[in-house]
């Protein structure tokens, strides 16, 4: 089948290459860092222990190198990495030794996924619809207003937006919680109250992400649609008296959506890297803070685990996207 050979096969090869490059990168980069995970652990012990005999530290160091699997040459470590990864094992966290990296990721992942999937999809949808509308009715005053607002919001550093929201809605007008995923002491039994509670806590981080996300999608979509408006099939449909709503949705947005869908895949894949800044600002219990603290503490395995997961997720997302793309764009299917 030529479709298989010309379309599918290159994409699967691509998929494997990306994962390989990603895995190699996340193996090499941390090892270039002067952070020594054993040293970091020793430091924690030194801070926590009353007084360690200097000679004892030498002994602990040896033991830890052994336990962490950091003995042996880089090549050996590198092969050990792929060997483990193929079994879906990211090894133990160094800092939280001997807890497996997977356990830590599993604790944090649901929060990040919950927050980011919702906001990404929401802002993608809203941004695209508003962007399409604003482009279609670009001469109207409200459309221009929307564009100007988006144009000003877009470049403000996200960190500032998040912080400003927090100060505004948790400090100046304290209607939302400052931090956390849900109320303290609330039993974690599924109920309407719990759902509401989680939503309430997720609201500010979600809002901050949605504002920026919507503005970004809005601007791309506006550009795409305004370029499409000169297309013959849109002009033709307009002449034929097809209603604006129909043209906007089935003609303009449907066509402009194609690149946006790919964009969505890419940004959904980024979830596994965590919304690093969001989570730091709102102290949200997700992967972003986990990743950041793992970098700070030189926890190679945890770093590699999260980054690699992110690479795999994006690559898989893009692969799936490539596979279903022909269904979205009939032109590709019959190429």
């Amino acid at each position: 089948m030529p479709f298989l050979k010309r379309y599918l096969l290159p994409r699967i090869v691509q998929y494997l290459v990306v994962i390989f490059i990603g895995g190699t990168l996340v193996f090499i980069i941390p090892r270039l860092m002067p952070v020594d995970p054993v040293q970091q652990t020793l430091q924690r012990i030194t801070i926590q222990g009353a007084f360690l005999d200097p000679r004892a530290i030498e002994q602990i160091r040896e033991t830890l190198l052994e336990l962490y699997g950091l003995k042996g040459s880089l090549m050996e470590q590198y092969f050990a990495l792929w060997h483990r990864l193929l079994r879906g094992d990211f090894g133990p966290s160094y800092v939280q030794f001997p807890t497996p990296v997977m356990t830590l990721i599993k604790i944090s992942l649901p929060w990040t996924v919950g927050l980011l999937v919702t906001t990404t999809v929401l802002s993608w949808t809203v941004g695209n619809i508003l962007g399409g509308i604003a482009a279609y009715y670009s001469h109207r005053r409200w459309a221009q207003l929307m564009e100007n607002v988006a144009m000003v919001i877009r470049p403000i550093p996200y960190y500032i937006i998040a912080l400003a929201l927090l100060l505004l809605l948790a400090y100046a007008v304290p209607i939302f919680p400052v931090t956390g995923g849900f109320s303290i002491g609330r039993s974690f039994v599924l109920s309407w109250g719990l759902v509401l509670d989680i939503l309430k806590h997720a609201f500010l981080p979600a809002l901050s992400l949605a504002i920026v996300g919507t503005a970004t999608w809005f601007m791309t979509m506006r550009l795409l649609v305004s370029n499409l408006l000169a297309e013959d099939y849109i002009v033709y449909a307009q002449i034929a008296g097809v209603q604006d709503g129909e043209i906007l949705y089935n003609y303009a947005i449907r066509n402009a959506m194609l690149p946006q869908v790919t964009g969505l895949t890419l940004s959904l894949g980024q979830i596994f890297g965590g919304a690093l800044i969001t989570e730091t600002v709102f102290s949200y219990p997700g992967l972003g803070t986990l990743l950041y603290s793992s970098i700070n503490s030189g926890d190679y395995n945890l770093m590699m685990g999260i980054t690699l997961l992110s690479v795999v997720a994006i690559a898989t997302g893009v692969l799936i996207m490539d596979l279903i793309y022909p269904f979205l764009d009939p032109r590709i299917r019959y190429e």
């Binding site: 996340v26 980069i29 470049p155 550093p157 690149p259 890419l266 894949g269 690093l276």
Partner: protein, 288 residues
């Protein structure tokens, strides 16, 4: 060129706005050299003063004049962005031309690498790298680092342009007339590729400036070099928002907005001037 500029300035209000803002910003950056203070010295002026006729944008908690700091920040951020743009353009053009012109295996290999760079989660990787090199991350090296990660997208755009050029008549004519590959590329293709380079450069510049701010907020760049990012870093960590030192935090934020607006509007009208299709083409390239 000059004629194009004047006609764009006269007929396109967006271009006019972007141009004026950009000229002001560039002039500001150039003016930084005349700063009466070493930007890395503290306690050169009284602390925490609001804007006044003496200190146009007030002073910060470290005893620096926000106005002059801002000029330095513009200069450094723009220099950083330009370096990022130039270096990423070089890679993108080289990869795009080679892949598009040679085709075959080279094309496939190059495009696979390119796609990998598009897909890799940039922020975690950049954080990893910057936390290694932080101490040595000057404005120049940060620019180059961002350049290394910012080319992939545009290499694809250039490649597809070359692909379509290759199919055109004049390429065959040129080949038949014995023109060398280099001459074909530079004499025949460049006029078509150059607009693409300009168009993608603006977006890349915005990306580089935004990335610098993110990394600086996380404290991952050389903090004593004033850039838009480090200005925000110091202001936030000195609680400028809570303490009401708004002139300190607002200055870099407003500058960010203006730089973005200027570059965005410039790129929009330049694109339109060159070819209204380019932008769509670029965005549609995502699907690869």
């Amino acid at each position: 060129m000059f004629k194009v500029l004047t006609s764009l300035l006269r007929q396109d209000k967006r271009f006019l706005f972007g141009f004026i803002v950009m000229v002001i910003l560039l002039a500001g950056g150039a003016l930084a050299g005349f700063s009466p203070h070493d930007p890395r010295l503290w306690s050169v002026v009284p602390r925490d003063l609001p804007p006044s006729s003496k200190y146009w944008l007030g002073t910060n908690s470290m005893g620096q004049d926000v106005f002059w700091q801002a000029l330095w920040a513009i200069r450094n951020s723009l220099v950083m962005a330009v370096i990022a743009v130039v270096s990423s353009r070089i890679i993108a053009v080289a990869a795009g031309l080679l892949a598009g012109y040679r085709g075959g295996l080279i094309d496939r290999v190059l495009m696979t690498v390119t796609d990998s760079f598009v897909i890799l989660p940039l922020l975690p990787i950049l954080i990893l790298i910057t936390s290694i090199f932080k101490s040595r991350l000057s404005v120049t090296s940060l620019g180059i680092l961002l350049g290394i990660f910012g080319w992939a997208w545009d290499a694809r755009v250039i490649r597809s342009q070359v692909l379509s050029l290759r199919e055109r008549e004049f390429t065959y004519t040129a080949i038949l007339s014995g023109m060398s590959t280099g001459r074909i590329i530079f004499r025949e293709y460049m006029p078509f590729i150059f607009p693409l380079i300009t168009a993608t450069a603006m977006n890349n510049m915005l990306w580089a400036i935004g990335m610098e701010v993110t990394l600086a907020v996380l404290g991952l760049v050389s903090l004593e070099v004033p850039t838009l990012g480090t200005m925000i870093h110091w202001a936030v960590n000195s609680q400028a928002m809570l303490l009401g030192i708004w002139w300190w935090i607002l200055t870099p934020v407003v500058l960010c907005v203006f730089i973005f607006l200027a570059l965005y509007l410039l790129s929009l009208s330049i694109n339109q001037f060159l070819d209204p299709r380019v932008r769509v083409q670029r965005l549609q390239e995502i699907k690869g």
